[in-house]
Symmetry: C2
Subunit: 213 residues, 2 copies
């Protein structure tokens, strides 16, 4: 069977969405998250991912088109949800401090909940991946940039209301917040002494107090 016929069958199976197909595709995506986390995106092999998901290597392409597609499947949904959550926090009728705290805490909790998928995504540096101009990569990059913008907007709200200092550019303050949060990908594990929520609250207090005049 040629590659294009496999692709056609894959699209058909996805549309039909039989329970077995969906379950095996899901197992494959979960295996991919584990292997990407252990080895990084570049070194991860489809052979090992298929083995871990207990799927025959030859039928792998029946479930997924490429390693890159697997990666975007792993993280795309989480990223979308996080940015949607950030939009909702931004739109709330609350102080900038409350919003910034909720944003930070929710983000670290999401890293914990989806461990290690989102850490893989952070480590691999989407900006570089999106240079390949794949549609999915570009869209994910835009979603991430929107998250950063929302962080800036919340800090600007606090500057306007006088809750936060205005002597630091809002984007530099936002990078401080995003930096401390995203750096968890180098050290946080759900098996540590502190929960994601506890770490998020500690970061939120440093960030909010650190921006208070």
């Amino acid at each position: 069977m040629t590659r294009s016929r496999i692709a056609a069958r894959r699209e058909l199976a996805k549309d039909e969405g039989s329970a077995r197909y969906v379950a095996r595709r899901k197992a494959l995506i979960e295996a991919a998250a584990t292997v990407f986390a252990a080895q990084g995106y570049s070194a991860a092999g489809l052979d090992e991912i298929a083995r871990l998901a207990d799927i025959d290597r030859a039928s792998l392409y029946y479930y997924v088109g490429s390693k890159k597609e697997l990666f975007y499947e792993v993280v795309g949904e989480y990223i979308d949800k996080n940015t949607q959550m950030a939009e909702e926090i931004l739109a709330k009728d609350a102080s900038a401090r409350e919003k910034l705290e909720e944003l930070i805490v929710s983000l670290v909790i999401s890293y914990e909940k989806h461990y290690p998928s989102l850490f893989v995504f952070i480590q691999e540096d989407l900006a570089k991946m999106a240079e390949s101009r794949s549609g999915a990569g570009k869209r994910l990059q835009m979603t991430m940039l929107r998250f950063n913008e929302i962080t800036v907007e919340i800090i600007e709200q606090g500057m306007r209301s006088g809750e936060f200092r205005s002597d630091t550019p809002a984007n530099v303050a936002a990078f401080a917040v995003i930096g401390m949060t995203n750096w968890t990908h180098r050290w946080f594990t759900p098996k540590g002494e502190l929960s994601g929520e506890q770490i998020g609250r500690a970061f939120a207090k440093i960030a909010c107090d650190g921006l208070t005049p």
Copy 2:
């Protein structure tokens, strides 16, 4: 000529240290920093590095043993200097706040000064590289861990003196500081509006105010 004879010649040339040899080896290391920065460690090719340094590909191994050796050459010296600087800051007769501020500002300035070499190092995640158990990788990893320890020790000094809050574990606070600082590898360029020193001072104020009771 066999690979081992080239290695022997390389070691001899390094020991003799002729001006021309040293200059060409330096050009190679600088070219490597540029290519690593643009493409990441994994994708960087020795062919391109040699071409950029204007060194014949065939004589490359006369100057350097491997891509990994080039990488450690690029960053090892800077990492050593930064940790030495941190030791000196820790040993000063100064408040914890003054020390933490100087540590943060000096680190961002060093990222700017050696741009982009240290950002390459941060992106590539030394912890994973050191798993290969190469002696140089292990030593660099220890130097980095010592830098983190010093950050913790400065924060602990501030907690003992009452300058800093004690309700956040010192290592979590240190990861917040290191996170905001190291995340610059994703966005800071020396061509931006703010200098490394300005960004370092903005981060130091957020971190120090954020830890003040």
